[in-house]
C-alpha cells in the first residue's frame, strides 16, 4: 500500500516564538496539511503566509461559532490569511489544508479548521499567486508569540 500521507517536518517550541517557518518544501506531493496545537500569548491572531509574501495578496472567508453566536466574515487584499479567531488562548488546535500547492498555474487555496476554548471555526483562504509554494509561515500577529510547547507539523499528501 503506498504511503500517501507523509510527515515533512515538525517543530515543538522550547520557548516563545513569533513565527514558525517551513522552508524548502518539496514539490513531490499533491497537497499539504499543517497541524498546530498550542497557544498564543496575548489576544493575537495567527497569520499564514506563503513564500514570505507580505503583499496584499491574500483573502479569507470564514464561519465562526463562539458558543452563542454563529457568524461569517471575510477579509480581502490582506497581507496574510487570518487562520485563527479571537483570543487563541493556550488550548487551541488547527488543521490547515493547502491544495495543489506545487503547481505554477493557479492561485493557491486553503481550508482551515480552527478550535480553541472560545471558538470553533472553518475558513477558506486564497493566495493570489501562481507561484509554487516552497515555504509556509505561521506567525503570531505583530510582536506576539506562540507559547512554549506549541507544536507544528507539516505533512505532504500524495494523490498516488
Amino acid at each position: 500500500m503506498p504511503a500517501t500521507y507523509e510527515p515533512i517536518a515538525t517543530t515543538t517550541l522550547g520557548s516563545t516564538q513569533n513565527q514558525v517557518d517551513f522552508n524548502t518544501i518539496s514539490s513531490a506531493y499533491t497537497d499539504l496539511v499543517l497541524v498546530f496545537n498550542g497557544g498564543v500569548t496575548s489576544t493575537a491572531d495567527i497569520w499564514l503566509r506563503m513564500n514570505s509574501d507580505t503583499g496584499s495578496n491574500y483573502s479569507r472567508t470564514r464561519l465562526t461559532g463562539d458558543g452563542s453566536t454563529a457568524a461569517s466574515t471575510r477579509n480581502s487584499a490582506a497581507s496574510s490569511i487570518f487562520v485563527s479567531v479571537g483570543t487563541v488562548g493556550t488550548n487551541a488546535n488547527m488543521i490547515i489544508h493547502v491544495f495543489n500547492y506545487a503547481n505554477a498555474t493557479t492561485y493557491k487555496t486553503t481550508l482551515t479548521r480552527f478550535n480553541s476554548s472560545a471558538y470553533t471555526a472553518a475558513s477558506t483562504g486564497i493566495w493570489r499567486s501562481t507561484s509554487a509554494i516552497t515555504s509556509l509561515t505561521l506567525k503570531a500577529e505583530a510582536a506576539d508569540t506562540f507559547t512554549s510547547g506549541s507544536t507544528f507539523t507539516l505533512y505532504g499528501i500524495k494523490a498516488a
Partner: protein, 169 residues
Amino acid sequence: MAVTHKLIQTITVGSGGSASIDFTSIPQTYTDLLVLYSARSARAAVGDDVYIRFNGLSTNLSSRTLYGTGSATASYSDASVAYIGYAVGDTSTASVFSNGNIYIPNYVGSTNKSVSGDVVSENNATGATQQFAAGLWSSTAAITQLTIYCLNGNFKQYSSASLYGIKNS
C-alpha cells in the same frame, strides 16, 4: 517512507445497539489520534448529540459548536461535557448514517487536550446538518481511553468507528 496513519482499531456496533463506542488501552506511540465514525442513534427523533470523554472520566470537559441546517446557523456551548459530533436519529430517513471525524493532537502530551470535530448528516430531508465542534478536556493526563456516546439513545447496529494513530516522524 513513513506510514503516518495507522489503523489501531475498528468497532462496529452489533445487533441490539450499544450505549457507547470505547477504545481502550490506546497505544502511547503516536503523535495524534483520528477517529472516523459513521453513526445512527436509536433516539426517536431526527438526530442526537454525540459526546466524547477520555480515560473514563466525565469531568473537566467543555465545547463550542457551530452548525448549519441549510436554512439557519447557530452556535452553542457546553461547560460540563464535550460535544463532538452528531448522529441521525431513528426518525430520520432510513439507512442514513451521520459521518464525522474527530482529531486529537498531542494526546500523550502534558498539556490540556484540545479536540476538533466535524460531522455531516445529509438525509435528503429536513434535519440535515453540518457541524463543527471544538472540544477541550482540561487535563494533562495522557489519553489512554476514548469513548463516544449519544446523549439520548444508543448507537444503532452498523454504526462504526475507526481509531487511527498519526505519527509526525
